[in-house]
């Protein structure tokens, strides 16, 4: 197990180095001068070449690319992460200030998806092709197709009409005011959770149906175990393995989807910071935030793989 853990961690590290290289290369081949974005076309044209060189040097953009890359790695290691072009705050402050909100949304969404998806999947699998199963499957097909941010917009619209909902402006942390904080995150989390719940329901249904056909489940029935025990104690644990894996995979959806859903609800999370930075072409912020999203995604998949190996001994011996 330790060997597996080590190998998996090293592997993820290699992947992250590749990821950082790709981000760096993609963002440095940007056509156009980043200073145009910062100063505007007019300000850019008025600037003397000397000023231009000075500002580029201040921003650290005039060094050779390998130097810039190594410096970025150093920044990551020390946790400084550089500064936004436009605002005084460092990327580190930005992440610490807005990150918790997005993290809460992701965790709550994952929780909701299990809460909704798993019972529905189990009930569907117990009576396949019954009316309950048909309704559940139709709903899951529908919710997989609905874009989360649109559902969010509709929800906001409805709340606006009936309750006078206003888009939040300030970040309110969990430790400052839990109730206000919950109001901030519940909408995005519910919307994201519903879509992921649809995947979980579909996945747990098909896995449970496959497992229920196995010999050992028939044995359990033959020895007289009640149906409830057969499903919950014998079939479910094995059927859950793929569902756990899919949750890690779904987190990628949640991470990407939350960017658009945060925008729909007007929640000032990390996703909105990323969108703003991309529109403003704030390279330093973008490269760090994209790296952070990729890092979380990779890390979660490592954890999923490890828990998988822990739950299923067959995996770790390979």
């Amino acid at each position: 197990m330790h060997k597996y853990l080590l190998r998996r961690a090293l592997f993820a590290l290699g992947t992250m180095v590749g990821v950082s290289l790709i981000i760096f290369v993609v963002l440095r081949v940007l056509p156009g001068d980043p200073l145009v974005a910062i100063l505007g076309v007019e300000g850019y044209n008025k600037m003397s070449p000397a000023d231009h060189a000075q500002i580029m040097a201040d921003l650290g953009l005039s060094d050779p690319l390998p130097v810039q890359y190594v410096r970025w790695l150093g920044d990551i290691a020390t946790g400084r992460l550089g500064k936004s072009f436009f605002r005084g705050d460092t990327v580190r402050d930005l992440i610490l200030h807005r990150g918790p909100l997005s993290a809460e949304i992701a965790v709550l969404a994952l929780f909701i998806s299990w809460l909704i998806g798993l019972p529905i999947g189990i009930l569907s699998a117990i009576r396949p092709n019954g009316w309950g199963d048909t309704v559940a499957r139709s709903l899951s097909i529908l919710f997989i197709a609905i874009p989360g941010f649109w559902l969010g917009l509709l929800l906001v619209l409805a709340l606006l009409f009936w309750f006078g909902y206003k888009a939040p402006i300030l970040v309110i942390h969990l430790w400052e005011d839990p109730w206000q904080n919950l109001q901030l995150i519940i909408g995005p989390a519910a919307v994201l959770g519903l879509a992921q719940g649809a995947y979980i329901a579909r996945m747990s249904r098909s896995c449970l149906l496959e497992v229920i056909r196995e010999d050992y489940v028939r044995t359990a029935r033959a020895k007289g175990a009640v149906e409830r025990a057969v499903v919950l104690h014998h079939a479910l644990p094995n059927a859950l393995l793929p569902v756990i894996t899919i949750s890690g995979v779904l987190l990628g959806f949640v991470l990407g989807g939350s960017v658009a859903v945060e925008q729909a609800f007007g929640v000032p999370g990390l996703g909105r910071a990323l969108v703003t930075a991309i529109i403003e072409r704030d390279i330093i912020v973008v490269q760090n935030l994209v790296l952070l999203y990729a890092l979380i995604f990779v890390a979660v998949n490592v954890v999923v793989d490890l828990s998988y190996a822990w739950l299923d001994p067959r995996i770790r011996y390979h």
């Binding site: 592997f11 963002l27 056509p31 098909s206 990628g252 960017v259 998949n301 999923v304």
Partner: protein, 311 residues
Amino acid sequence: MIDGRVRRELGRFARHNVLSVAGAVVGLLIVAVALAAPLIAPRDPLKADFRRMNKPPDAQSLFGTDQVGRDTLSRVIYAGRTSLFVAFTSVLMGTTLGSLWGMACGYLGGRFDLMSQRVMEILQSFPDLILAMAISMAIGTGLPAVIIAIAITRIPFGGRVIRSVALSVREMPFVEAGRAAGASQLRVMTLHVLPQCVAPYLVLATTHLGVAIVIEAALGFLGVGVPPPTPTWGNMLADAITGLIPHWWLVLFPGLAITVTVLAFNLLGDGIRDTLDPKLSPAVLRLVTGAGKASTTPAAAPVREPSDATA
């Protein structure tokens, strides 16, 4: 090409997959409407009419009008053109390139396969939407940038799935026979391996159409997609919420168009998968989850495409 066997297959498909036939019909209808937009749209989608601003749906404009009096129905129809064009071209480029790459990986194996797997692993380490945003930012806004950005996010999915197909096809007797007969690598790949990859490719491509439409819509909604005035379903939604109080008809109809289109393609994809190759579903399921299959490398475990995962 359409002989009795194909017709029988189609008949079997229709009988067993009412839903996916419905999906196919609706999908074709949407494509037809998008293609025939100039004939069908009641108005010019770009023409502002300041006498009719912010009108709710009525007899004159069935889906209402927006802040500058443009007809929402016409805009939804024309937006379909752009959104579908982006989705089709990006899937045609990305999924196809990924599939060919994956086929080469699976068949050739060795160091080339190993290197390619690393690259795909890295590409899959980004959430789709975030990678698409970063790439479209890097290569500039506009239609081609959006298409390329979405296409790149599609590459690893094609690569993973088709690679595993090619891996199993490689061991089949007829491929060995081809090699034994002295055919070149390229010839064996195109004549023996490629045809076996067509069915899973079709399933992938159909499913990815839906994903591509959603990514395009999200990019447009976030203001980093196809720039206005060209309407797309995504940037119409972005337009809709610029006002202090968004009008429901401006939010409802573009989103409905996205949902119906994605639903249609998903249903069609499910049906094609169930019909073309019944054995494919468990194989893909195992591939996606890593269940019951010892992956050669730890990296081969999760492919993040749950829509392919469910049988």
